[in-house]
Each structure stands twice: as C-alpha cells, then as structure tokens.
C-alpha cells in the first residue's frame, strides 16, 4: 500500500476515535461534577433561601430529575450540537463560550508566537559555540523560565510594569474608557480592521497595550521549552552522520545548519508546539486570573465555583474537542514531514 493511502487510513482512524474521546471526557466530567460536593442551588441562592424557593429553582433547572435522566438529556443535547443553558444567568453555554474562547485563543496565539520567536532564537544562539557563554546563558534561560511559577512571575511583572512604573494596565482586555470592538471576539483583529477602515488606531493601541503583559509573561514562560528543545535537538543533529557527510562534501557551515540540521531539529519542536497549543486552548488559568483576562479558563474556574454544571460541561467538551483536533492535526503534519514515521 502506498504511503498516501496509509496516511489517509491513519487520519480516518484518528478522526473516528475523536468523538469517542470527547464522549468519554464529557461523561467523566458529567459524573465528577455530580459526585463532587456542593450544590448549584446553594451557589445561586445561598443556603438560607426558603425550601420551597430552592425546590422550585431545582425543578426549573432540571436538577430534580434522576441522574440517568439528566445524563440522557445532556447526551441528547450534545448530539444535536447544543450545550444547554448556564445555570447562573440562563445564557446559552455556546454564547458564553463564544465570548470567552476568542480571548483565550488571542492570548494563546500571541504568547505562542512570542514563545516560539524568543525560544528558538535563544535555542539557536548557542549553536556556534557549545558550552560557551551564550550557550550557558541560553540553558539558564530555558531552565529558569520553565521553573518559574507562573502566578509569581505574573504578579511580579504586573507589580513592576503596571503598578510601580505605570507603563501598562494592570489587567483587563480593553481600556475601560473605550467600547470594545464587536464581531468575532478577537479584539486584535477587529480593532486592526476598524483601524484600517477608519484610520483611528486607538482601539488597536488599547488592545495591544492590554495584551503586552499577559502575552509577554506567558510567552516568556513558554519560551524556555522551545529554547531547550531546539538546543538539544540541534546539538544532536549537528553530531549526526548526515551532517558530517554534508560538511565533508564541502558545504558551508551556515548551509549545513540551516538546510540540513535545522529542519530535522525542528520536527520535535513541532510536536512540542502542538502540545503547547493544546494546553493553551484550555487557557493559562493563572495568567488569566492574575491579569483579569476574561478567557475560557477564567470562566471555567468561576463556573466550577458556582457549580454551573452545564457551563462546566460545555467548556470542557469544547476544549476537549479542540485539543483532540489540534493533536490530530499536529500528528498528521509530523507524519507528513517525517518519512521515518510509521503508522
């Protein structure tokens, strides 16, 4: 069988398994929420509302139904592409996710780009003189950023740049004195579009200003992973036989590195990027909380506190589906790029 048909079969198998994985995750979350202590009625009404009011709200929200009935209803909704309504404000869960997910994706993408640029630059910088000062600094940078507790780093950055120096806002996603752009929920894109259309750039400037600290902190914290991964893989590639062969053919060192060693060293980095993207879709909770970034992880944390069952289930299902999709896509790209991969 040809490699192409193998690849298609592999893709089909992965795609067929994806709904099963999402169903398993959704069922697990459904059960865990019900097993966990706490009651949404308490979260909504407090513990002192009259019993009749509590019972009425419980019936209104369908929480008086047997567990199997609630589960059946949940699965039925899921199969029809519905995620139900939030218990706290009866808003469709899809609408809540539509509001929060773009914020997390925007933060994640900018942070990832920053992490990749900085991380790869740092990882590449030591290649000229292994064990030299630059290489040592790059290693320390990689270990240091990876080891820093995100909440601590975020708070220190916030304290220095927002509170002490006053250069950047302490939190939020948009200046409170401006009306945020409407549309897709991606403020960066929307405000860029508005700027191109009207020639007024204050929305874009406000968006960038609020994005710098959270994306910068997250990006720098993630960049260490890229730096270390590239450094190790590039070192391994430079010591390999095919690089020696290239050198012996008289190729220049720059060409050897850029054309022969780097592409091979970047393959594992691509896998790491996939894993990082997957984790960022779920949001960088501590970063979002510290910078009051209204993303999906922040929303999920609140929903758990409020025991908002449909919202927690909905967010987890959507995030799980996205993570599965990204993982499949990355696996596929790696499989296409690396002829050594067997499936």
């Amino acid at each position: 069988m040809s490699r192409r048909s193998d690849l298609l079969r592999y893709l089909a198998a992965r795609l067929a398994l994806a709904p099963v994985m999402v169903w398993l995750i959704a069922s697990l979350v459904f059960l865990l929420l019900r097993v966990a202590p706490g009651d949404p009625i308490d979260a909504l009404l407090g513990s002192r509302a009259p019993a009749a009011a509590r019972a009425a709200l419980r019936a209104q929200l369908g929480l008086d139904q047997p567990l199997w009935h609630q589960y059946g209803h949940f699965l039925n909704q899921l199969l029809h592409g519905e995620l139900g309504q939030s218990l706290t404000n009866q808003e469709p869960v899809t609408a809540v996710i539509r509001q929060s997910l773009p914020a997390s994706l925007e933060l994640g993408v900018v942070a990832l780009v920053l992490a990749a640029v900085v991380g790869l630059a740092v990882g590449f910088s030591g290649v000229a003189r292994p064990e030299g000062r630059l290489d040592l600094a790059g290693r320390l940078y990689g270990i240091g950023t990876y080891a820093l507790p995100p909440f601590w780093a975020a708070m220190v950055v916030q304290l220095v740049f927002a509170v002490w120096l006053g250069w950047l806002p302490v939190g939020g996603r948009f200046p409170p004195t401006l009306i945020p752009p409407t549309g897709s929920g991606f403020y960066l894109l929307e405000s860029l579009r508005a700027g191109l259309g009207t020639g007024h750039w204050h929305q874009l400037l406000g968006t960038v200003r609020h994005l710098v600290l959270p994306a910068g902190t997250l990006g720098l914290l993630l960049s260490g992973i890229f730096a270390n991964a590239l450094r190790l893989n590039l070192r391994r590639a430079l010591d390999s036989d095919y690089v020696e062969a290239a050198r012996s053919r008289g190729l220049g060192e720059g060409r050897v590195i850029l054309r022969h060693a780097l592409p091979n060293a970047l393959l594992p980095v691509l896998t790491i990027t996939g894993i990082t993207v997957a984790s960022l879709i779920g949001g960088a909770l501590l970063i979002e909380v510290t910078y009051s970034w209204p993303g999906i992880a922040f929303r999920l944390q609140e929903a758990i506190g409020q025991r908002d069952y449909p919202l927690v289930q909905g967010i987890v299902v959507v995030v799980a589906a996205l993570v599965v999709m990204v993982t499949v896509a990355v696996d596929l790209v790696v499989a296409m790029l690396d002829p050594r991969i067997r499936f």
Binding site: D42, V170, G171, P176, T177
Partner: protein, 540 residues
Amino acid sequence: MVQARRLNRPLSLLTSALALGLACGLAGCQRQAGKQSLAASTNQLVVASKNRIDTVDPAGAYTFGAMQLLSAIGDPLYAIDPGGQIQPKLALALPQVSADGLTVRVALRQGVRFHDGTPFNAAAMVFTLQRFLAIGKLSYLLGDRVQSVGAIGPYTLELRLKRPFAAMAPLLSAVNLTPLSPTAYRNHANRFLNDRFVGTGPYRLTFFSDQQQRLEPFAGYWGKPPANGGINLVALSNSTALFGALTSGEVDVLLSTSLEIDQQAALHRSALRHKLREGQGPALEIGYLSLLTDQPPLQSPGLRRAIALSLDRRTISQRVTLGLRAPLRDLVPPSLVGSDPQAWPSYNPKAARALYRQAGYCKGKRLSLPLTFRSNVPSDRLFALTWQAQLRQDLGDCVSLEVTGMEATTAYRQLGDGAFTMILLDWMGDFPDPDNYLVPLLGCDQAQGNRCLKGASAASGSFWSQPGLEQALQRSASLSGPGRAALLRRIQRQTAAATPYLPVWLVAPRAWAQRRVSQPRFDGSGRLLLQDLRTSGAPR
C-alpha cells in the same frame, strides 16, 4: 564553526533591532492609547471592583456587583438614604396600609419615563413585579409575603399580602424590584434579558460585558442629574490588581468588595494621610459562628455560653481585620431598628473557665472543639487561626480549637445536614430590615422542644429553636415602631442566652477615590452613590 558564528552575529543584531523596535513602538502605543483614553474619559470616571456581572436583569441578579450596577441604572419605588431613613423615589409617599394590614397601596410618581421613552405607570410596575414573581431568582422575597399585585388606577399600585408585613417600604427598596419598561421587556417577560437594561435610573446602560459596563447620564431623568459625565465600571479578578489599579491611578474609584484586608488597611492609611478619599457605607453584613446545638458537645447550653465568653472579639478584630471590622455582639446591625449592641456577652475568660469547669473540663481534660472555616475566604482562615491561638494562650488547659478549611459552596451544601460543630459564616439581608437577619437564622417551620427539625435554623446549621420564638418572629413582621424594636431586642436576648450563634464582626462597605474625585458616599442599602461622584476637573 566560524561561519556559524558569522551567521549568529547578524541574527543577534536583527533580533535586538526587532526587540528594540517593538519596545519603542509599544511605548509609543501606550502613550497614544493613554491620550485617547484621557480624551474619551473627560468627566467620566472609572470605578473598579472585583465583581464580574453575569446578568443585569433584576430578576436574575443576586451578586453585589449586579446590585451596585442596578442601583445606578434603575430606580426602586423607595430608597434608603445615607442616614438610614426610607425615602420615596418612584413612589410619591410611604405605602398606605389597610386596617387589617393585608392591603398596601402605593401612589406612583407621574411624568417619569423609561430610558426607551415608555411612560412609567402602575401597569409598568405590575408588569415588573409579576415578572419578578414568575422568574425571579429571589422571587421568594416578594412571593412569601405578597398574594397578588394589581393597578387600581393609572398611578396607583395595590399589593394584597398573605399576612401583615410592616416593612413593605424597605422591601420595595430592593433593587431587584426596580421597574422595567414593558415595551423593552415584552419579549423577555418569561426569561432573562442579561445584557441590556431599560429602567428609569439616572444612568443608561450603553455597553455591557461581564467585565466592563458603561453608564451614561440619562437626559430624560426625572430627578437630580448625575454629577459626572458617566461611569465606566470595570472588574479586575484579583485583589492585587485592584489595589495596583488604584495606586497607579489607572482607576478613579475602588470598591472594597473582596479586597484583601491588608490592602484595605493600606488604602485606609493612605486616606488618613490625605492621599486618597475614603467613604464608608452602613455596616449591613455580619460575620457569625453557627453552633450545632443538637449534638454533643455543644448541645449543652452551659458549654455554648462558655464559648461565647471565650471569644475576644476586640483582639481578633484588630489582629485579623486590622480594626476594619467592628466587633459585634448582636445579630441585627446597629443601623437597623431593634438592634441590641450588648445582647451577647463580652470576652470574660474567668467566667468562661468557671463554666468549662462546671462542664468537667480544665481538670486535666480539655474540650476539643472543631471549627470549620471557608477556605476561599482569607479573613475566615485568619479568624480561625487567631482564635485558636487566643484560646491556647488564655484557656489552653480547658479548650482547644481544631480548625478545618472547606470550600464555601461545599460547606453550604452540608450545613443543613448538621455536619459542622462550629462554622464561621456571614450574612447580609436582601434589604435593610431586622427580619432579614433574624428570620434566616432563627426561623423554624417545625420544632420539637428546643430542636428545630425543619426551617431556616436547621438550614443555618444550628438546629436551635424555642417554644414561641417563631410566633414572636411573625409578630415582629407585622409590628412597627417602639413595640417592634422592643420585641426584636427580646428575641435577641433570648437567643443570646441560648447561644446557638455567636456574632463576631460587622462588615461595612468602603470605597476609595483619587484626590481629584469627590468623597465616595453610600446609600442606606450599602451601595455606592455613583451619581454623586464628581471630579475636580484636573486630568487623570
């Protein structure tokens, strides 16, 4: 290798140049954005709090933040002024109550219009109240007391009550009952309208997201117009960010809700040094301990009394809240009728020791007392640890406190199951009336002697009642004047003697403003009067 070094040098230069360019660009962006913000914020104020708002529908709102917002964009029939007096707002006068106490009529103000231009009248008020009764999350506030709602004239509202209730005006001051435009809510009569609001208040809501709201003065407002050009409410998720936002000048006013105590104290000190302006509202939130009275060891009234005498509120208030929360020996806040500031005994370790001895402790035997605190409330944890240390120091041979933290929602779920020997909780009435403090703690639908089997007392985790107590609570709801105050004090004295609860401290809302903003003021319901805030004109 040499070539690689050559390759690295331009790369490093390029990276440095890019980083420098980006930094310069961003710095420019920041300055530019700052200028734009200033331009947009002329005479507008930024007010920050920790309160993210899920819904602006009065029927669905229940959080402090939502109530604060609604109080600025809506007008209830009555309002409680900063002095604690009830004042007609959209009503013309105080309610007229029939001789049997079962019919209440309210004359409504004429010439008032909703933000969408719809005239305000009795039909609009009936629509609002019936909608709240049908879908309101807190519908029991009205539903437990009101049989029916109707209009007996274009500007006269009539409420038929289930039983006499003297505090109708304070009840109608609840922001959840703020009138809504029947035109705007026609399609939302049976469901929430979460992101829009059309009422009669001094501000219109012109932008809403859960983290940010913009209020602009309503040109057609019937009353005194706001003193500022608008308010931008913003929610920041953590205390440090809020504190930093005020101290860096990024926000004009900061509300104390959910702000860490030490940061509140730092802002308080700044206000004392005239670096900020500070305003304090009426203390309407109480912190108290609930004692499980139907299980050992606290089923003994003597032991409960001993614990009451073992609580050094003054030291705890100083250590835990740096003096920001006043010690409380009363279940009814002092600003309300019927409060009895000395109903519970003060700290007396000598008397406490005598009672512990009577119960068989202190003679080589020590009472091990479990105390549960809400782990997600920082001041609760500090209280538990401080009291534990205080008891170890003063009565260490008689009693020791075993402290355990539990997440709040989990704790609430188990409260009515009698899971906690002693737990620290807080409470704030839905509207300022003493009944809202006593009934939720002492009400009992079914009792057996001193044990409450079903009702508010059981749900609060104390399971305590007393013959005649429920009747006394119901009688107090129908009384007014000195007779009611005397009855409320008597109820509290009886409760204090049995000690099913221990009041601990009193929480007052605070707000801090930059020097160029006027001093923040609160109404009698504990809400910041946003419309009173004004700037001196100096730019931020």
